[in-house]
Amino acid sequence: MGKIIQVGMADVKLTRAPDKLMTAGLGSCIGICIYDRSLKLAALAHIMLPSSVQAKNAQNRAKFADSAIEMVLEDLVKEGASRSRLQSKIAGGAQMFKFSGESEIMKIGERNAIAVVENLEKHRIPLLGKDTGGNYGRTITFDPDTGDLLVRTIGHGERVI
């Protein structure tokens, strides 16, 4: 039995099978799983914001979609992964609160999802599964052995993508 490694908000973790990667309570944040199936090696990033470019404080690269993906790719390659074999799955990007006059910040989930997809495309990482949007939270567990991403919710079912 492998361990389950927890990934916190604005954090990145790497592991190999039989261990699994898990992050709890994704709302507007997005969990990005990037993995090399043949090595059974995977990384999970829990990002909060779409872009580090405009940010006044971008020291923590794991916080932003663009810099977190770059960081994950560097880390995976360092661990022996091949760039051409990498694949990805993502979940999260919900809009938890609804206001009548919706402010930009409250659409953060949608903006996060767009930025993640764009950055994966930019680095030519195929996106094999995506469970984003809605107005509910998600807890996700990634299994580097099978490449399965388990998405759990409260009141919106459970699924494997």
Partner: protein, 208 residues
Amino acid sequence: MVQDFSELSGLQLDALREIGNIGAGNAATALAQMVQAKIDMTVPEVTILPFAEVPDLIGGADTHVTGIYFNVTGPAPTSILFILSIEKACLLIDMLLGRRPGETTAETLSELEMSAMMELGNILSATYLNALAMFTQLTFLPSVPALAIDMAGAVLDAILAQFGEIADHVLVLETQFVRDQEEVVGHFFLLPEPDSLNTILAALGVSF
């Protein structure tokens, strides 16, 4: 200018705690009147936490909670979040609507129960902000309430994301409401934006 929350002095932290005390004291009185029960509050705690640790204050990112959020504008923009476990929220709704304890459950929450919760949030935040306004002579304008019933991490992350562009930590002024000296009813969070903190501290006469 507070660049980093860790630069706050003991005097400044005391001043913030005192605001929390008065604000939450008024809110606790309002809550007690609404539910006709004795509601006490804990001494407010000022904590400076990395984002990832905020959900731990309310039992972890996976905990099923009810959150009522207010975006407060004015010279010192702030976020207010009243958050409580789903079980406690149902008990509060029972009290508010004059039902038997246990009658409301997570499965039966409908528009009526949710608007009761939002109204409760309205009154709590208004009384809290009134005290804060009197103390600081600043104007605080709360938005309409927004309600989310879901995992604690999910309820918090969009709010924390607002601080993410400038900070890795958040200053949380937390008070717990306690009923009959044991049950923790809910947590009240005041999350000032870093610039607002300077404005509030200056208004209190304890700026740098």
